[in-house]
């Protein structure tokens, strides 16, 4: 679906944002793109959608060169940016104007998603809605386009607590074998039990790209006694609830992947994690 080969990108001559970045993303999966601020997560999504062009290297999305921005490719991509555009029209007109550009758009689905987000009035003007409500409309629209590639940049920013749960349910119901979802976020807890592939960016490159199954197979996430420590422990975090640890899973024990803990473990001991997954 997405093939990125040795891509270099920078906004200015002096500072390189992405250097020799390579990444392959498959369909039928929800990819979580994580990283600290300024690592280039949003830029990577922009590169995939053809909004910015690589200075070096190649990107292929569904067999197209994104920088050409051909309608065949664009009608199969929906990109929800973190900041939304100012649109002076109501929801009904937004659907009327933009839905025909997406051949697989499903109006019933759109209405259903809006209803789930408790947005009943389609006559509401988009620029009069709150940021969160506007985001809900865009998420609902994006899912209803049924594009093969859905790029979501910080989709849960601005959503209230019940809406985050609704968002997870909708996304989970919207994914199928032909679709590929890339979600860039800082709010790792919002994506808990949703994403099935974790991509971590650090130092302007991909330092980790593994499926949840593989992570659960190789790592053990546990809460243990403060005294308990052994050579399998890669990272531990002392909290009021106990000692949260990421360990090597030598006993093939099943545990739930804690994305935040994994993220911190990677930054604490990148070398060991890399070796473990090689």
């Amino acid at each position: 679906m997405i093939d990125i080969k040795s891509v270099d990108f920078s906004y200015s001559r002096n500072t390189k944002l992405l250097s020799g970045l390579s990444l392959q993303l498959e369909t039928g999966r929800i990819h979580g793109l994580l990283g600290k601020n300024g690592e280039g997560k949003s830029t990577l999504l922009k590169l995939i959608s053809g909004l910015v062009f690589p200075q070096k290297g190649e990107i292929e999305v569904m067999g197209f060169l994104p920088q050409k921005r051909l309608p065949e490719m664009l009608q199969d991509i929906f990109f929800l940016p973190e900041e939304l555009p100012q649109l002076s029209m109501n929801i009904e007109n937004y659907e009327k104007v933009y839905a025909p550009f997406y051949p697989n758009f499903n109006s019933e689905q759109f209405n259903k998603f809006l209803k789930e987000f408790e947005i009943e009035n389609k006559k509401s003007l988009l620029n009069k809605l709150s940021h969160g409500q506007k985001k809900k409309v865009m998420i609902a629209f994006g899912l209803a386009t049924n594009t093969r590639l859905l790029l979501l940049d910080e989709p849960t920013n601005g959503l209230d607590i019940p809406s985050k749960g609704q968002f997870r349910r909708m996304v989970a119901s919207g994914i199928n074998e032909e679709r590929c979802l890339v979600i860039s976020t800082h709010q790792v807890h919002d994506l808990d039990s949703l994403i099935d592939n974790i991509i971590i960016m650090d130092g302007h490159e991909i330092v980790f790209n593994q499926s949840i199954e593989n992570i659960a197979h190789k790592l053990l996430f546990r809460v243990s006694d403060r005294k308990e420590t052994d050579d399998t422990v890669i990272y531990s975090e002392d909290t009021l609830r106990g000692l949260y640890q990421v360990c090597e899973n030598k006993t093939a024990t099943e545990s739930k992947v804690d994305i935040e803990l994994l993220f911190n473990a990677i930054f604490a001991d990148k070398k060991r994690i890399k070796q473990l997954f090689q």
């Binding site: 922009k46 959608s49 053809g50 909004l51 910015v52 062009f53 921005r69 051909l70 309608p71 065949e72 664009l74 009608q75 991509i77 990109f79 940016p81 900041e83 939304l84 555009p85 100012q86 649109l87 002076s88 029209m89 007109n93 009327k96 104007v97 933009y98 025909p100 550009f101 997406y102």
Partner: protein
Amino acid sequence: MNTTFSFNRLVLMLKRFFIENRNKEIMSWGILILVFTLVHNSANAKILLYIMGFIFAAKQFKSFAYTPGGMHYLLIPSTHLEKLVTSILLSTVYFFTMFILTYSIGNVIGTNLYNLVFTQSTQVTWDFFNATDIQKFGGSFDFLPGGNAFLEMIVNFLIIQSTFMLGSIYFKRGALGKTMLSILAFYFVIGLIELFLLKVIFVDLTTLRGMNSFSFMTESSSILKIIGNGFKIFCYLLIPYFWTVTYFRLTEKQV
């Protein structure tokens, strides 16, 4: 699927403009009718055409002023050519038609109201379309044979439109002001070059001052005619040239 140009997608792009800007358009054209009602039978409508024309053209790619707006625009599934043609159609055919329509409505309403209030019987005049009108914008460029002022006005308008549309995509913010400044800077440089060349040719500037009232273009010399026609062709070519540059600028646009 047509990868270069689809009429359906062009219609969708136009529909998008009209739905998104319906209220603004109704309001601005309504105000213009009011203006033409107040200043009916005016021969100076073409000045307003040029001013409004470059404002309208400079707003064609205003979505790029705000990054999410630019992203949203570039990701609309239509080709760059369709996006460009939409902007050209809107800032030429649509704008010009609406201008003429509002001028005509305002003129008729204004004249009739004037007659009603002041019990006069003034006729509606259509100076705007007057082919014998020799008033020309920006000097005395005789672009078209036969001196058809209306057609000449359209050519002038298209040159202005294409220049400001290019400015609209070239400058991220304040396209209108920056394009105007660029044009002024361009003319300033041309003026300096002209002055330099004349000084080189005539050496003494007093000779040059003495020639102020002398027009080279009134001479019937064939060389001057060739130069004049060459200049006309150059001006015509500016229109497609600026549109082409706008197209390439759009294809290379990154947000």
